[in-house]
């Protein structure tokens, strides 16, 4: 079954229309520049293997619009073949009883051997495979303007104390230390980077995966909010509502020194013709661990041989080496499977892949809470509400911790 795709197309050719013609309807929200190009790669590959692809792009609201479309389709009993879904949302849909089992493909292709265990865990529903991973975005990056750091005699920080010292120095020199956009998800992105550094990987897992109340109310969590309050002093007063790519532009043109953001920020730097290591620097945020944000396609239960053949073909292609490489070169992330050659990738992506492998062995490969990988919408939303409310007011860290525990309990 290694060359399943060829087999399927061969059967299709031999048997004419009597047998399965792979068909897939794919719901996704990759509609902008690089993302659309990345999907086109998959579409082409699917067509080359004799499949018929029905594209169903629904843009808007970071996937909210697509989820509405999906809800309508599922309630009407006519689900698409594959849907761009990620993290616990996959399990949520599984519990509604609408996902398909693609274990046959996954086992034939040996997914278990090439995917990191914690990422593979998201793709399984009650032990059987129900989704295919596309990429791994690292969330806990800190990006910096190389010239600004050099002219101020600052190295990439390895601890939050170093970060604070560097930021104060930059502030004295009239540079905005931290480029940040005051949108709830960006506040949450910074928060989880700080939390990973201060709580450590185990503490992070207890707090944001297990929702352990003792950890959520621990003195360490108070320290996380204290650091957030300090960081609030490092952003410019004009930050509320700013989009993340405008914050990246501030780092690019030297107005600001650092930005804490996932590796989609790299795409902005590269698009502006900046070179990693020369014009801009990338490093993981202070502390151990690796926070991932994995895009994936969940496979919905569909009727008919054509559609099921299309689903199997699609799943195989998505996790296939070629697509994983081409797609991630376009998107700025790294392949989810670990046996893809990274020679064509830049230094930041290679660092990301090395760290992922090391974290996977050390047990510190963790799901990002801010990007919907660790918790369901209601719980992660409740945490984000407290984080953003603390960051945008003069709430004390102790109050924030008390509210955090209350909000999590109330979201259950």
């Amino acid at each position: 079954m290694k060359n399943f795709a060829i087999t399927v197309s061969a059967i299709a050719m031999l048997a004419g229309t009597a047998h399965a013609n792979p068909e897939a309807e794919v719901l996704h929200w990759w509609t902008s520049g690089g993302e659309a190009k990345s999907v086109a790669v998959l579409q082409q590959e699917f067509a080359d293997n004799g499949g018929t692809w029905t594209d169903m792009p629904v843009a808007g609201g970071g996937g909210d619009a697509a989820m509405q479309a999906l809800r309508a389709r599922v309630l009407a009993g006519n689900a698409p073949t594959a849907v761009q879904l990620k993290g616990p949302a996959i399990q949520e849909w599984y519990e509604e009883g609408v996902l398909a089992d693609i274990s046959a493909v996954a086992e034939a292709e040996g997914w278990a051997d090439v995917l990191p265990a914690s990422i593979a865990g998201h793709m399984k529903c009650d032990g059987s495979w129900c989704a295919a991973p596309v990429n791994v975005h690292r969330v806990d990056w800190i990006w910096a303007n190389a010239d600004v750091l050099e002219s101020n005699g600052i190295a990439m920080p390895n601890t939050w104390e170093e970060f604070n010292a560097a930021a104060e120095k930059l502030q004295a020199a009239g540079i905005i230390p931290l480029a940040h956009g005051g949108q709830a998800w960006q506040d949450a992105t910074v928060f989880e980077a700080v939390a990973l550094g201060i709580l450590g990987p185990d503490g992070f897992r207890k707090a944001f995966v297990d929702l352990d109340e003792a950890t959520l109310t621990s003195p360490e969590m108070v320290a996380v909010f204290d650091q957030m309050r300090t960081m609030r002093g490092f952003v410019d007063p004009n930050f509320p509502g700013r989009d993340w790519n405008l914050a990246t532009a501030m780092v690019m043109n030297g107005e600001a020194a650092f930005q804490i953001m996932g590796d989609w920020a790299k795409g902005e730097f590269l698009a502006a013709g900046k070179a990693p290591g020369e014009d801009f620097l990338c490093a993981s945020v202070p502390g151990d661990g690796f926070l991932y944000n994995v895009d994936s396609f969940a496979m919905f239960a569909v009727d008919g041989d054509d559609k099921q053949a299309g689903q199997a073909l699609l799943a195989e292609l998505i996790v296939g080496q070629n697509f994983q490489k081409v797609f991630n070169l376009n998107k700025g992330s790294i392949p989810a499977r670990t046996d893809v050659s990274l020679d064509d990738f830049d230094s930041c992506a290679n660092l990301s892949a090395d760290d992922m492998a090391a974290s996977n062995e050390g047990g510190s490969l963790l799901p990002s809470y801010a990007h919907g990988m660790a918790l369901r919408g209601a719980q992660s939303g409740a945490i984000t509400d407290v984080v953003t409310s603390h960051f945008n007011s003069d709430m004390s860290s102790e109050d924030a911790v008390a509210q955090l525990a209350a909000a999590v309990a109330n979201s259950m």
Partner: protein, 291 residues
Amino acid sequence: MSVKFLEDHLPKLMLAPSFIAMLIFVYGFIGWTAWVSLTRSRLLPKYELDGIIQYERLFASLRWDTAFSNLFIFGGLFIVIAMILGLILAIFLDQNIRSEGAIRTIYLYPMALSMIVTGTAWKWILNPGLGLEAMVRGWGFENFTFDWLVNPDMAIYTVVLAAIWQSSGFVMALFLAGLRSVDGEIIKAAQIDGIPNWRIYSAIIIPSMAPIFLSAFIVLAHLAIKSFDLVIALTGGGPGFSTDLPATYMFAMAFSRGDIGQAASSAMVMMGVVFAIVVPYLYSELRVKND
């Protein structure tokens, strides 16, 4: 038989489709939402009743607290200020001034804009690094500060400001029509009696415009309660969630967080607020007709 039957029942037959559509799509779905608000629905609606858990969660949520009290801050200020401003503008325009038509159009024009446009324009005007504050500082007043948009305690007032800008022209038009409909004979009689102008307005014209006030109030109140696009465009609910309104809260719960039960309960509370305003109005209207 058939002609007679048609003659008797044609109006009912004509109205039946829209009546049925209303029954299903308005009242049916209100009932559906009420039902869902009593369940533990998450991603998809479920129908097993589970008491008032969603309402307990709603009122325990700090974000809902903010959203609900914002509704009263926003609604109260918006309605009162828009009515006062509209009335003043209408009275000024009523003084037989030159080029009244042009001025009326200028004031009415914001109403023609979509709330998204209003919100985006005001977002730029109020942005401290880009708009008013930067401009005045550029003139040399280095200490001038107008940072309401980025100040969590004041941001809700920027929403009020933009909404008033949008709607006061419309209120003016309503009041202007009301002023013109007052019997000219009474005013002339008052003028002959030597009653000062402001007394004519406060004692004769404005009291006789009571129905106009009521209409303006109803129109503005429902604009305030359903307000959504303005907040999304102007502040996105931020900083933090300090400018959330019930409508944006409901949208976030239903469509980004997969918490449909919570969204349904907030929708029911919003409807309660609408009823609290509309029912007394309907009651007074119907009572007048029955007299």
